[in-house]
């Protein structure tokens, strides 16, 4: 199949000889190798994915019927807070950073990231932040037992987070856990930018980088500009709660809306930080499985940069109902609708990549196909929400919950699954089991649609979010029940996925360097790559160096 480009004779991993477990553990804990850190980020995220999934399941059981008594309101409120916080900060972000860490140096022909020790430090900060957040379950008892996990919602609006309304320490665990992991995120972003701008191999100009690298560069830039406001706001919240400050103290003339502004100045770019790497994954997988180069590379880059810029200016569309002036509302409608243009361009370009190709629906491509369809729908519901008056009905309802889960699960998670299947052979040296991969896809697809398609309807029928129960007779009951059923299928899909990952690690077919007949540099080295990545730093002449080598009569650099 693929030309095996060997850069060094196939060697076994150094631990073919037996080494004690403690030694190996020490190696992993003290590693500064971007590949190992990437794997640790990913494994860390998978553990929290399971925990976040359990939190979601608890909520869905509670909401499957009106006036159900499965958990108390206090527990439910902690569940939605922890579920949102966990999934965003300790599942999606680590997955994004883990993949970036693993792939970026390999794709640009470098030996490691620019600052390997900062890399390790950032990982451990992120990991510690998650532990700190969950320590609240045991450590947060405050006044009158008003402790335990935070229950202020993942965006922690003021003044609910002030000492008056949130006594005890649960809110502080939220604040500190995220502050710490936020610094880790900034560290990784600095690393990604410096690596991409300074360590590309000879011949790889900015215009010849793989799209995944470009998009991770834009993502890292957004992290630098977006996570910092959150850190600032959290420092202000700590000052309010511990030093008697009045930043968000409405009794002293402070403003509750300024917290919202600061939070969403972070919160909106954050979702682009999560989705742009998903775009990156799709931009690598769809061409390979369609057997065609990506359609419109320069436009894809320009569109992503545009999304990055415009994305910093749309934040108050989360605040359409708080009573901003009509001029402010109108501005944010415009900026939010504007961002649909570059986003739509990307969807069309992926479509055009498939057009005229020979699409093979292995598991990575199945998930990417699901992503295309679902991200389209998510974008369209986003357009509905961007029309502010429509948002005055839809906002803060289950319609919004359905919309953003459509993006995050239907878009981002599907791409992440695709990435897992695509790069699993590279990371482990083994092929995953294809029939199990397809089973995962179908189970998860059915579950996803059962849950999140039908979730839009209670929103349209007036069901607000963050409620631990609801009245019968509002017409919400049967829809909520169907939504809960979907959880079963998604759970089964995840189990199949986990089983596949584990089983294939030990029993999968040996993958070789390039099982997909792909075109970017990571496929030119061993699977898994040796610690030094490449025997000799490669030089490139086009965007698809391996295509050039496999097709010397028809290389890319003649046409680019």
């Amino acid at each position: 199949m693929a030309t095996d480009l060997i850069t060094w004779p196939e060697t076994q991993e150094a631990d073919a000889t037996f080494r004690p477990f403690v030694d190996r553990l020490h190696e992993w804990v003290t590693t500064v190798d971007h590949k190992r850190l990437g794997v640790m980020y990913i494994l860390y995220a998978l553990v929290f994915l399971l925990i976040g999934g359990i939190e979601a399941t608890i909520m869905r059981i509670q909401l499957s019927a009106a006036h159900k008594d499965f958990v108390s309101p206090q527990v439910f409120n902690r569940m939605f807070t922890m579920h949102g916080t966990t999934m965003i900060f300790f599942v999606a972000m680590p997955l994004v950073f883990g993949l970036a860490n693993y792939l970026v140096p390999l794709m640009i022909g470098a030996r490691d990231m620019a600052f390997p020790r900062l890399n390790a430090f950032s990982f451990w900060l992120t990991a510690f932040g998650g532990i700190l957040l969950y320590f609240s379950l045991i450590g947060a008892n405050g006044l009158y037992g008003a402790g335990n996990a935070p229950d202020v919602g993942w965006f922690a609006y003021a003044p609910l987070t002030s000492h008056t309304f949130s006594p005890g320490h649960s809110t502080d665990f939220w604040t500190l856990g995220l502050l710490v992991s936020g610094f880790g995120s900034i560290g990784t972003a600095i690393n990604i930018i410096a690596t991409i701008l300074c360590m590309r191999c000879p011949g790889m100009t900015l215009g010849k980088m793989p799209l995944l690298v470009w998009l991770n560069l834009v993502m890292a830039g957004m992290v630098i500009l977006a996570v910092s406001p959150l850190s600032a706001a959290q420092i202000m919240l700590l000052i309010d709660r511990y030093l008697g400050g009045h930043f968000f103290d409405t009794q002293a003339g402070g403003s509750a809306t300024i917290w919202m502004h600061f939070f969403w100045i972070f919160g909106h770019p954050e979702v682009y930080v999560l989705v742009i790497p998903a775009f990156a994954i799709a931009s690598e997988i769809i061409p390979v499985f369609s057997r065609k180069a990506i359609f419109g590379y320069p436009v894809m880059v320009a569109a992503t940069v545009a999304i990055g810029f415009i994305g910093m200016s749309v934040w108050a569309h989360h605040m359409f109902t708080v009573g901003m002036s009509s001029n402010a509302n109108t501005f944010f409608v415009l900026s939010t609708m504007a961002i649909a243009v570059p986003t739509g361009i990307k969807i069309f370009n992926w479509l055009a990549t498939m057009w005229g190709g020979k699409v093979e629906f292995k598991s990575p491509m199945l998930f990417c196909a699901g992503f295309l369809f679902q991200f389209l729908v998510a974008g369209l519901t986003g357009i509905m929400l961007s029309a502010a008056p429509f948002d005055w009905q839809l906002g803060n309802s289950y319609f919004v919950v359905a919309h953003f889960h459509y993006v995050i699960v239907g878009g981002i998670l599907f791409c992440l699954f695709a990435a897992f299947y695509y790069w699993y052979p590279k990371m482990t040296g083994r092929m995953y089991n294809e029939p199990l991969g397809k089973l995962h896809f179908w189970l998860f697809l059915i579950g996803f649609h059962l849950t999140f398609d039908f979730m839009h309807i209670p929103g349209l029928l007036g069901m607000p979010r963050r409620i631990y129960t609801y009245e019968p007779g509002r017409g919400w009951d049967s829809w909520n029940f169907i939504v809960t059923i979907g959880v079963v299928f998604q759970g089964l899909g995840i189990l199949v996925f986990a089983a596949n990952l584990i089983w294939s690690y030990f029993r999968g077919k040996v993958a070789g360097n390039d099982p997909w007949d792909a075109w970017t540099l990571e496929w030119s080295t061993n699977s898994p790559p040796p610690a030094y990545n490449f025997a000799a730093i490669p030089s490139v002449k086009s965007r698809r160096p391996l295509w050039d080598l496999k097709h010397p009569e028809d290389p890319d650099w003649k046409y680019e």
């Binding site: 030309t3 095996d4 480009l5 060997i6 620019a114 600052f115 900062l118 900034i186 972003a189 600095i190 690393n191 930018i193 410096a194 701008l197 300074c198 360590m199 000879p202 011949g203 790889m204 100009t205 630098i224 500009l225 977006a226 996570v227 910092s228 406001p229 850190s231 600032a232 706001a233 420092i235 202000m236 000052i239 309010d240 030093l243 008697g244 400050g245 009045h246 930043f247 002293a252 003339g253 402070g254 403003s255 300024i258 600061f262 100045i265 030119s524 000799a536 490669p538 030089s539 490139v540 002449k541 160096p545 080598l549």
Partner: protein
């Protein structure tokens, strides 16, 4: 198994290792600038909104001397790095120490000002919106000055042991970049707090 050789092309001009450090520092500065921007926005937003207590006009005195100290320290650190590049280690150490001294003087000045505000004027972080935003913004800046001083002190100690050579000039310059950033932030804070805000 075929082994295909990868033909070597003319290596493109690569950014050297020092470029990585400088770029990393620029990124850090961008992130810090974003944090300071939020505190400045909060300060400006809350101007005039305090429900009680002393106002900026009543209690703030322009810290001219200490500002001059801090801003001159940018000049001295620049001279220090220039000396280091020319391998004039003695001159480097002297200018570097002067930078440290000026920075520490600035911090001392802030401490004196705060003492006056707290004990004589009764303005604390709890007093009103002005107190909260003032101490937070100026305090955040002072914290960054402190961190910078710690880093400068470390380099100075290395210099005292004769470990700093002209080949380290790039790295020292990267640290100087941080120090210039801290000074620039002070220019902004000064304008916002002592000029616009009063």
């Amino acid at each position: 198994m075929s082994v295909a050789t990868i033909t070597a092309f003319e290596p493109e001009v690569q950014w050297g290792p020092s470029a990585r450090g400088r770029l990393g520092m620029y990124c850090l500065i961008a992130a810090e600038a974003a944090i300071f921007t939020i505190f400045v926005v909060a300060y400006l937003f809350y101007l005039g909104k305090s429900l009680s207590g002393p106002t900026p006009q009543q209690v703030l005195h322009v810290p001219v001397l200490f500002t001059i100290c801090l801003l001159s320290s940018s000049l001295t650190i620049h001279l220090a790095v220039r000396s280091l590049r020319k391998a004039k280690i003695g001159a480097f150490a002297r200018w570097w120490f002067l930078t440290l001294f000026l920075g520490a003087t600035f911090l001392a000045g802030t401490a004196v000002e705060w003492r006056h505000l707290i004990y004589d004027e009764g303005l604390t972080i709890q007093t009103n919106l002005f107190g909260t935003t003032y101490y937070s913004l100026v305090g955040l800046h002072a914290f960054h000055v402190l961190m910078g001083l710690l880093a400068l002190c470390t380099v100075w100690l290395f210099a005292m042991f004769g470990k700093v050579k002209s080949e380290h000039a790039e790295r020292v310059d990267t640290l100087a970049l941080y120090w210039h950033f801290v000074d620039t932030v002070w220019v902004v804070v000064f304008l916002v707090v002592y000029v616009i805000g009063r």
